[in-house]
Structures are given as C-alpha cells and as structure tokens.
Symmetry: C2
Subunit: 165 residues, 2 copies
DNA sequence: CAAAAGTATCTGAACGTCGAGATATCTCAG
DNA sequence: CTGAGATATCTCGACGTTCAGATACTTTTG
C-alpha cells in the first residue's frame, strides 16, 4: 500500500517540475493548513444550517457562551476572540440582537463601552449547535490515534504561538 | 520550563469549566487549524502588498503558473483549485485581465469554454511574490525540526484526504 | 485641572464573494 | 439525427467584511 496522495502532493509536484530551484518545504505544511481550514469552514455551514445559524453568528455566540455566567463580553473582547474588525462585530451584534439571541446594553463603568449578553434563547441554540459540531469534528479525527492527535495539537500550537505575541 | 500556552489552550480551559460533560478533544486540533489559517491569511497580505497584489489575485496567478507552459487553464479548473464559486472566478479573471496579468480567449475545442492565460507580466509578478512568500513561510516553520515538519505534513494530509473523495 | 493622547464603538461606502438562474454548447441514448 | 440532459461560463442582486474616519468618553500629562 503506497500512502494516498492529496491535492497538496499534486501542487508540490507541479511546482517541483516548474521551479526545481525553490525549496517547497513550507507548502507541505502550510498549504495543507489553509486548505483544511477552508474545507472545515465549508462543512461547518451544514451543521449550523440545522440550527438556523450562520457560521459568523456561531462564532460570536460561542465566545459569549464559554465566557460563563452572566455570558457577557464587550464588542472589543469579541473582536479579539474572533479575529474580525470592529465594524464587522458591530454588524454581527446588530443581527444577533435583532434575532433575540443577544442583547446590547451600556457598560455602567465606562460610558464609551457596551456589554453584549447572551440571551437564554441564544444559549440554547449555541449549546445545541456546539455539541453537534464537536460530534462532527470528532468523526473527522477518527482516523488518527490519540497519540497522533496529541502530536498534531502540540505541533500546531508551536506554529500558533508566534502570532500571539 | 512549562510549555507555553496559546489562545486555544485558554479556549479549551474555558469550555472545560463551562461544559465539563463534553469531550473537547476535537478543538485541540481543529480550532488550531482554523486560527492558524486565519493568521496566515492576514499576514500573507503583507507580502502580496509589496507586489501590488491581493491575496485572491495571487491564488489565481499561482494556479496558472504551476500549470506550466503555456500557462493556461479554464475557469472551471481554476475554480477547482481555488475552492471558490464560478461567479467569483469570473470576477477575478475580469480584474486580472484588466490589469494585464492574464488574458481570456475562447477555447477552440469547446465553444462554451474559455482559456485563461498568464501573461509575461503576470508570470513575473507571481514568481517574485511566490518566492518571497516561501521565504516568509519558511521562517514561520523555523521552530520545528525537519522531522516534526514531516510529521505535521503527514498528519494534515490524512485529515485532508476525506475531503477530496 | 486643562489639554493631549488614548480607547471603545459605530458609521458608511467600497469591495469581493456567493448563489441562483440564464445562456450557449456539447454529449449521448434512442 | 433529434431531443434530453449534462456541462462551461457568465450575470446580477444580496450579503458580510473591511477600512477609514467620526464620535464620545476616559486616562495621562504637565
């Protein structure tokens, strides 16, 4: 059994033919990261659709949910956790508030500030969707042993660290 | 020395506190993949800007470049390789053609078809940008040994395969 | 305490992507 | 050959994101 090849193997082979002078090593890892993330994004949508959620809505709800009681965060903190811009977060909170999944209220300690709170309805939706997402993702990882998953997590962490300085 | 922790460690710890009933294992791997990809996307933009390119333009040029002489692909093939929709590809080719980086011509063998060709100017731009991108990505991976990079590539490949069936 | 610098959030226009549908062409069974 | 279905590409309106700048408030400085 010769190990199966993926799209990135083809891409690297093509480059090796076209540019044998270049060290294509980085592609082996980082192209796979990008493509895998893209596939994950595309299929996550299926899970969310079952709960009448969009992916970007989920990202906000999930940040509020794991903050714990009373499920409150400022837009600024939500921006940090979701890696989007402040204008985007304003829009997202608007839409979620219109659907009754969060509320927006003034921060009593800082009159510039706003507090976004997960509603009970929002909590129910996000809990259901999150649990299903975990199930789905567990299936994606089923092909790896526990040891391999640990390795993978450890290696990815070390790539992630430089971005979080 | 206790290993450094990243954002995902914090996220998992928060979830463990909030939902000790759930198996959060998938997050350790897949959250890192998503966040890393997002960071890669954000910083890739810096490299491209030096060559007056946008990331989405680069994706198209690079697919044509590695196709080899005569650097031609149909919009359909470009769609497959870049994981975007056909409408998006039409727009991208429009913009690249307007900038003189590609040309669009009818396919002589299939009158429904179109052939997108990389111009000499397009080739020069993409070669310069690609080489610089590789340098930059190599630096990101410098913290890993060759053996670790291989491991990582192998594990990511096995996660990618199910999406490519 | 006043002025300057910093911070939190929102606004609005420009932009790229998507998704459904339209058009034109090709393929193949009958 | 003909008609049905498949295929390749494009059109276009809706949408979410970005970016720069505006606003309002807070903190720091002298």
């Amino acid at each position: 059994m010769t190990g199966a090849t993926d799209d990135v193997d083809d891409i690297v082979a093509a480059w090796r033919r076209e540019r044998p002078d270049l060290d294509l090593g980085p592609l082996e890892v980082l192209s796979r990261v990008s493509r895998l993330a893209r596939h994950l994004d595309l299929t996550r949508g299926e899970t969310f659709a079952e709960h009448q959620l969009e992916g970007y809505e989920f990202d906000v709800l999930v940040a509020l949910r794991r903050a714990g009681t009373p499920y409150q965060l400022s837009p600024g903190r939500l921006v940090q956790q979701t890696l989007v811009t402040s204008g985007t977060m304003t829009n997202r909170v608007d839409r979620l508030a219109a659907r009754g999944l969060v509320t927006r209220s003034p921060d009593p300690d800082d009159r510039r500030g706003v507090i976004v709170t997960l509603t009970e309805a929002g909590k129910e939706v996000v809990d259901a969707a999150f649990s299903e997402l975990l199930d789905r993702e567990r299936r994606l990882l089923a092909g790896l042993s526990a040891r391999e998953r640990d390795q993978l997590a450890r290696l990815l962490r070390s790539l992630l660290l430089p971005f979080e300085a």
